[in-house]
């Protein structure tokens, strides 16, 4: 290995900038869909989750490196907590779900395998939603039956996430065609 390669950091600036920009795009589009759709209706939930997984798949295709998902989640959570009022209790749950999903991607062949990326994103989303429901249980433990409603809402949102995996792949094909994603 050459000396310059040994000294170069794991993340280069271009990659870090891509993660930051995607974190911003995903956050703004989620807020926009929630504002336009008015919150708790099935269509808004599906659309919001669809966009999230679509953009996440595009990010993971563009930056095929171990740690991308976790770093994206960490950055997104940090800025949400400081600027947009994200719940601080949900941050560790989200990052833990990201780490499990990354380990799974690694086991399934790494970021070079498109199937591993899609399964990883699907598992991350399912785990983070389940962990959020777990946190909700703490908040609603005096009235645990309320969790049933939460679970229904989460399930509807997850349908959107699953559709988003395929729209994400479609987006990647188009972006490759346009020469924006090279790999």
């Amino acid at each position: 290995m050459t000396e310059s390669k040994q000294n170069s950091p794991y993340w280069n600036v271009r990659e870090l900038v891509v993660i930051g920009i995607f974190a911003a795009v995903i956050k703004v589009s989620s807020i926009l869909v929630a504002l336009v759709g008015g919150g708790m209706n099935p269509l808004t939930l599906i659309m919001k989750n669809l966009l999230f997984t679509t953009l996440l798949v595009v990010l993971l295709y563009k930056l095929r490196k171990f740690g991308t998902l976790t770093l994206f989640l960490g950055v997104s959570a940090l800025v949400s907590a400081m600027l947009l009022g994200g719940s601080l209790v949900l941050i560790p749950a989200s990052i833990l779900a990201g780490l499990i999903a990354e380990a799974l991607i690694k086991l399934l062949g790494g970021y070079r395998s498109p199937a591993a990326i899609m399964i990883g994103v699907a598992i991350y989303d399912a785990l983070s939603k389940l962990m959020s429901l777990g946190v909700s249980w703490f908040m609603l433990r005096e009235q645990p039956k309320m969790i049933i409603m939460g679970a229904v809402i989460v399930a509807v949102g997850y349908v959107g996430s699953l559709i988003g995996l395929f729209t994400g792949r479609y987006f990647v094909k188009e972006l490759r065609h346009a020469g924006i994603i090279h790999q």
Binding site: P9, Y10, W11, N12, V13, R14, E15, L16, V17, V18, I19, G20, I21, F22, A23, A24, V25, K27, V28, S29, L32, V36, G37, G38, T44, M47, L50, L51, L55, V58, K62, L71, F72, G74, V75, S76, L78, V79, A81, M82, L83, L84, G85, G86, S87, L88, V89, F138, M139, L140, R141, E142, Q143, K145, M146, M149, F171, L175, A178, I180
Partner: protein
């Protein structure tokens, strides 16, 4: 670039407060409300957090947020009673038990809203620098914070272009034609974001960003007396609510 897009209201003492103080209060509130299970203790925290939120003087946003939480609670109570009609085992178990989740949400919303309504982009960047984060966490976070206002501006321009092309731009049309919404709204946004990320990445690389050993700070950020005072008052409220919670044998309130 717009300095702040989260706050267009009056300059208040809360705007001068360190973002770390507001983060600490929100984090502590998130943990304390999970531990509390008595109505008087949660009511005390709700009142205190409402007072904290009032420091922002954003009355309209405040009232809308409270009305939304109240409506959500009424809807939840309504659904629980409806479930009780059809499945008696699934019904609500006492008004106080219904009130506790509502009060927990109220405390969280109050503290988070106070932070969101009084924090400026520049304040976030200064705080990020003062947190001594590693470069691989600081750079994307700073890019995200800096890019948010220009992304909002991009979206405004895309919306204008859609309107000029003659497509309807109302919530109904956007939600019920998801394919068209994605094609007209989100694809241009994604293309623009990817191009910007390439440009910014090259610019940052040319400037040598990320190659230094550590990030140097232009100005050290310090807590003011107001920060210490607010932290002390918050600690007192949290301790008092925990004491009330420990000594209140019943979780009910006024016989409910």
């Amino acid at each position: 670039m717009q300095v702040s897009f989260t706050s267009n209201g009056p300059e208040t003492p809360l705007h001068q407060m360190d973002v770390r103080t507001k983060m600490l209060i929100s984090a502590a509130a998130s943990l304390v409300v999970i531990l509390l299970k008595s109505v008087p203790a949660l009511a005390l925290l709700s009142l205190a957090s409402a007072g904290y939120l009032m420091l922002t003087r954003r009355w309209r946003v405040m009232i809308i947020a409270w009305i939304v939480i109240l409506l959500l609670w009424i809807t939840a109570v309504g659904f629980m009673n409806l479930m009780h009609l059809f499945m008696p085992k699934m019904g609500a178990s006492g008004m106080a038990n219904m009130l506790i989740p509502f009060l927990r949400s109220l405390v969280l919303v109050n503290t988070l809203l106070a932070m969101a309504l009084s924090t400026r982009i520049q304040g976030i960047l200064t705080t990020l620098r003062s947190l001594h984060l590693p470069y691989w966490l600081y750079i994307p976070a700073a890019v995200m914070v800096r890019f948010l206002p220009s992304l909002v501006e991009d979206m405004r321009q895309i919306a204008e272009a859609i309107r000029i092309k003659g497509y309807p731009l109302n919530p109904w049309a956007l939600l019920f034609s998801p394919r068209r919404t994605i094609r007209l709204f989100f694809v241009p946004m994604l293309f623009r974001a990817l191009r910007t990320s390439d440009d910014l990445g090259i610019a940052a690389e040319l400037k040598g960003v990320g190659y230094g050993d550590r990030i140097s700070r232009f100005r050290e950020q310090r807590f003011s007396r107001f920060d210490y005072g607010t932290l002390a008052a918050s600690c007192a409220c949290f301790i008092l609510s925990l004491v009330i919670n420990a000594y209140s044998k019943v979780t009910t309130f006024m016989g409910m």
